[in-house]
């Protein structure tokens, strides 16, 4: 428990010291999403701006009017708008992968990481992260396919039951298990990512192995930290939507934008908190000790005293030609 509290507290402190990353990532996501929504926005302008019928979208939200807008030929295929937004969402994911090494480096620093160091870390670890993500994708893919496959089979079997609620409870239980399993995998690869960046580890496989060992060794404290932060994320999302729905009037468009964006900004916090937890764990438990060379003590020998009857030699000048020649 103490270890978990230490991880959470220290992770939170790292998050607090590096708030600027949150802002950057938020702005990046917002910008990309706006680009992604450009087609949707233009098409909607063309249909809605000069029509009285669209008023039913402002004073309340009439699903029929919205559905009719999407169905209009001049709106174009909804898939086209979706594809653009999906593309930009993937772009944010790629950008996250690109800039994450800098974030981890910043989290591990005891000082404000200079910009050039941030980008240097990003560049130096780019290829390593690509390899890491490929391995992670394979592992996540296999585990997710297996677990979702089991879930599907169980829910199908539960569907044969006369208890209507059984499939729901089975789904819920399966999703809980899947969430825990995915969280464990996330911890594993978060630690591997921290190791790759902070140990400057070129051999990604070693970081993956090391991440696995430490995930297994400290599974309780790490998993509970991750689960708690995920619960925080869920609370933020639910609370944000609740406030949006309950406290913002239907025609309060700009207030809605404010609340929705605030919710999304706050939603970034738990994940960056988890990064802080991973870095803290790395620094506390995964740093390889620095090899220190030990030297045997040299016995102090008494100075040799030249007998008084020996002739006195003139002092040697270190810069003299004779000395250099020797």
């Amino acid at each position: 428990m103490a270890e978990r509290q230490g991880l959470l507290t220290s992770g939170w402190a790292r998050l607090g010291r590096n708030k600027r990353y949150l802002v950057w990532f938020y702005l990046l996501n917002l910008s990309l999403a706006r680009f992604g929504a450009a087609a949707f926005n233009n098409q909607a302008h063309g249909i809605l701006d000069h029509s009285l019928y669209s008023g039913r979208l402002v004073h309340g939200f009439d699903m029929a009017v919205f559905g009719e807008m999407l169905a209009r030929p001049e709106f174009g295929p909804t898939a086209a708008s979706s594809a653009a937004s999906t593309g930009f969402a993937v772009l944010f994911f790629i950008a996250t992968a690109l800039f994450l090494p800098g974030v981890l480096q910043g989290y591990a620093s005891t000082y404000r990481l200079p910009r050039e160091d941030f980008f240097r870390a990003c560049g130096r670890n780019l290829w390593r992260f690509i390899r890491l993500m490929i391995v992670a994708a394979i592992v996540f893919g296999i585990v997710a396919a297996a677990l979702f496959g089991i879930q599907g089979a169980l829910v199908k079997a539960a569907g044969e039951s006369t208890n209507e609620l059984l499939p729901f409870y089975v789904s819920l239980a399966c999703l809980t298990v899947i969430f825990l399993a995915m969280s464990v995998l996330r911890i594993w690869f978060d630690l591997a990512e921290a190791d790759v960046v902070l140990s400057d580890q070129r051999a990604v496989r070693r970081s993956i192995a090391k991440g696995f060992r430490h995930t297994w060794r400290s599974l309780g404290s790490l998993l509970s930290s991750y689960v708690l932060t995920t619960i925080v994320a869920a609370i933020i999302l639910v609370a944000g939507i609740w406030v949006w729905m309950r406290l913002v009037p239907a025609d309060g468009v700009y207030r809605a934008i404010l609340i929705s964006q605030l919710t999304l900004f706050l939603l970034l916090i738990p994940r960056f908190w988890q990064r802080g937890v991973a870095v803290t764990y790395y620094l506390q438990n995964m740093v390889e000790p620095i090899a220190v060379q030990t030297f045997a003590p040299v016995a102090v020998v008494a100075p040799v005293v030249t007998p008084a009857d020996e002739p006195v030699v003139a002092p040697v000048n270190p810069g003299s030609p004779e000395t250099q020649a020797s």
Binding site: A33, A37, H50, S51, S54, V58, A136, A158
Partner: protein, 689 residues
């Protein structure tokens, strides 16, 4: 134990426990074994015993209606003794059908529907559904359990002998030799006009796993279209269509006496009134139902129904007992179901006419079955889930719709093969009216978390999805696709009738609907009967509208094409750099366009920036028109159909034009879009990197 072992073992144990729980529940899904003693042989014995068959007459009973005399011209009397095997989902039964020849001519053959034969691979129903689409079934994984069958083992014409060998399948609609949904029965001696004929039929029906609102699911069964049913003599010929994927049914009114023998643990509901229930020594029970002035009989059984049957609606002709059979997990919604059922009864009685039957049975069907949302005489199925929020009015919508069919199908028994719009469409129109009244015009479908939707808009969306495919007036099975069948028969008809209401006025329309119901209840009216009634009541010749909206398929789309307002002395102003003021006279032009082929007169409201409003009328005859004004005010907006009475305009957005753009709606919907995009991006980044 170290926590990491616990974490690893927890999912494993969870999976094992879940698997065991699931298997155990699945094992309990079937009925108790060893209690099912019914068999074909037993049914056959029962048939022999059960059919002294009564006399050659149709009873004039009124046991099931609040009337002291029959309300329909009774053509048929079905006496069925059926044994249901809950393990094999097979019914073995005897049927004694007494038919009164009121056709005015001698009849030498009788076609019968054998609907359950539709669910076979080469049947017309499956062939059509596979291509045109279907509400419930995906054919990629069509399994043997989804096959249905209905076989006449023996058929005797009383007094004329057994004609089993002479029966033969016919396919009057498409000539499909593999379709066995209609069988033609010759009678050796023609039945003279006014005479009776009696058929003794031994048949077996094997239900499929629910198809088209009939069949079994787990331990539930809904017996719909399950017995050999004679066709209707209509307009000088037998009307007995094959079962099509896009159609429903058609039958004559009469009396039903049905005995159902089922396992004792079953809870049973059916059309008509229950007149007896006796336990048998073989752990079965026999429940007897009687129905008057109905044209079909359906029943259901499940061991798990929870029943509420203490509700009574005091109707205009007498009390109506409301029996509600709910799934256990939906029991918390029973009051909700009863409330909408009662409110529907109140509205229909008040607006259209009395409900004469003594019962109405509402069945909440097995979850996941294709049995929800169906109408049979005095017996309807609803549709809900255990998690249904109050703000989503799906249960209300389904119950109201199916109850409405008691009027538009149950009593006004139109030919659903040929005029599907006259039951589904007229019912969808009255559904809009009733739900508007009960749940609000814009909230009758949903009103949750700020999102709303009204039934009239849902019907319109259905229509515009298929607006240019089919006319309303055509055979149900001739529609281009299942989507078109649904969009036109339900959505377009409702929208066309709502628009008609705008043309003749809501009060006149309400009166016409009442006259139509009272005049044609317990008959089989045609489309012209309906249209003539509206013309008669309104006193208007509406052929111009019916020809386009009912018989044709032109599309209606009016548009405010352009608005221009400029100072009349713009040239002088330009020279003197003078600015506009309130004394400036503007020359304004408003252009309207009829984009499609449906010509209809429309109103247009033009607003000026001094607050003035002008209403103009356009007959719509030309492709476009313009209205010009010289005023000391500029036009700010123009709106076609400002009272929103036209429901069939394919594009409502272009019906109005506001000069000054209002970007709020776009900003709002774009914000939703951006929020979802950002959230998905963050979720992806959370788990993938």
């Amino acid at each position: 134990m170290k926590i990491r072992w616990f974490i690893v073992l927890f999912p494993l144990v969870s999976v094992v426990v879940l698997s065991l729980a699931v298997m155990q529940h699945a094992a309990h899904a079937g009925p108790p074994q060893g209690v099912l003693a019914t068999s074909a042989a037993k049914a056959a014995n029962a048939s022999a015993a059960a059919s002294p068959a009564g006399s050659m007459a149709i009873p004039d009973t009124t046991l099931a209606i609040n009337s002291d005399k029959p309300m329909s011209e009774r053509v048929v009397h079905y006496e069925i003794d059926a044994h249901y095997d809950a393990t094999t989902h097979v019914v073995d039964a005897t049927e004694v059908l007494t038919y009164h020849n009121l056709t005015g001519q001698a009849l030498d053959h009788f076609p019968f529907h054998l609907y359950q034969n539709a669910f076979q691979p080469n049947a017309t129903w499956v062939r059509e559904a596979k291509v045109a689409g279907n509400r419930d079934t995906g054919y990629d994984k069509w399994e043997a359990k989804e096959y249905g069958a209905e076989e006449i083992k023996s058929l005797e014409v009383v007094g004329q002998g057994n004609v089993t060998a002479q029966m033969h399948y016919i396919a009057p609609d498409d000539g499909n030799q593999d379709d066995k949904t209609v069988i033609d029965v010759p009678v050796p001696k023609p039945i003279a006009p006014g005479e009776y004929v009696q058929f003794k039929i031994l048949f077996q029906t094997k239900f499929p796993e629910t198809q088209a609102r009939s069949g079994w699911k787990r331990d539930f069964v809904l017996g719909g279209q399950w017995f050999p049913k004679v066709g209707v003599w209509w307009h000088g010929a037998w009307n007995c269509h094959q079962y099509h994927a896009m159609s429903e049914f058609f039958a004559d009114f009469g009396v039903y006496d049905v005995k159902l023998t089922v396992p004792q643990f079953e809870v049973v509901g059916a059309s008509g009134v229950k007149v007896a229930e006796v336990s048998n020594s073989d752990k079965t029970k026999t429940v007897t139902y009687h129905g008057d002035d109905i044209h079909d009989f359906a029943w259901t059984a499940s061991p798990r129904y929870k029943v509420k049957d203490d509700g009574v609606f005091n109707g205009q002709m007498g009390p109506v007992r409301m029996q509600i059979l709910m799934q256990p997990a939906h029991w918390s919604q029973v009051e909700r179901h009863e409330k909408i059922l009662k409110e529907s009864l109140e509205h229909f009685e008040s607006w259209y006419g009395p409900y004469p039957y003594k019962t109405i049975t509402l069945v909440d069907t097995e979850p996941g079955s294709a049995a929800e949302g169906m109408e049979y005489p005095t017996f309807i199925t609803g549709g809900t889930t255990w998690w249904m929020p109050e703000g989503i009015h799906e249960p209300e919508l389904v119950v109201e719709h199916e109850f409405g069919h008691q009027y538009w199908y149950g009593m006004v028994a139109t030919n659903e093969f040929e005029d599907a719009w006259m039951d589904e469409g007229i019912n969808s129109y009255t559904e809009v009216k009733v739900l508007d009244s009960i749940l609000g015009k814009y909230t009758s479908i949903m009103n949750i978390a700020g999102a709303t939707m009204g039934e009239r808009e849902e019907q319109r969306l259905g229509y515009i999805s298929a607006a240019d495919l089919d006319p309303i007036a055509q055979k149900a099975y001739d529609y281009q696709s299942y989507g078109s069948y649904g969009g036109i028969t339900y959505g377009k008809t409702a929208s066309v009738l709502l628009t008609l209401e705008g043309i003749i006025g809501p009060d006149t329309m309400a009166k016409a609907m009442r006259v139509y119901f009272m005049r044609y209840r317990f008959t089989h009216p045609t489309k012209e009967d309906f249209l003539h009634t509206i013309e008669e009541v309104s006193g208007q010749n509406l052929r111009w509208y019916f020809d386009r909206a009912i018989y044709g398929s032109p599309v209606l789309d009016y548009k405010v094409l352009k608005i221009e307002s400029y100072p009349a002395n713009w040239y002088e102003q330009k020279k003197s750099s003078q600015k506009d003021d309130k004394n400036t006279i503007y020359h304004s032009v408003v252009y309207l366009q009829r984009k499609e082929d449906f010509v209809m007169p429309v109103e247009v409201e033009i607003k000026f920036d001094n607050g003035e409003k002008i209403r103009e009328h356009w007959d719509g005859a030309s492709r476009w028109t313009k209205f010009t004004y010289e005023k000391n005010a500029k036009v700010t907006s123009a709106e076609i159909d400002p009272d929103h009475t036209i429901q069939i305009d394919r594009n409502n957005f272009n019906n109005s034009y506001v000069v000054e753009a209002n970007t709020k709606p776009t900003t709002k919907v774009t914000n939703y879009w951006v929020f979802v995009t950002q959230w998905l991006a963050q979720a992806l980044a959370w788990w993938a990197v």
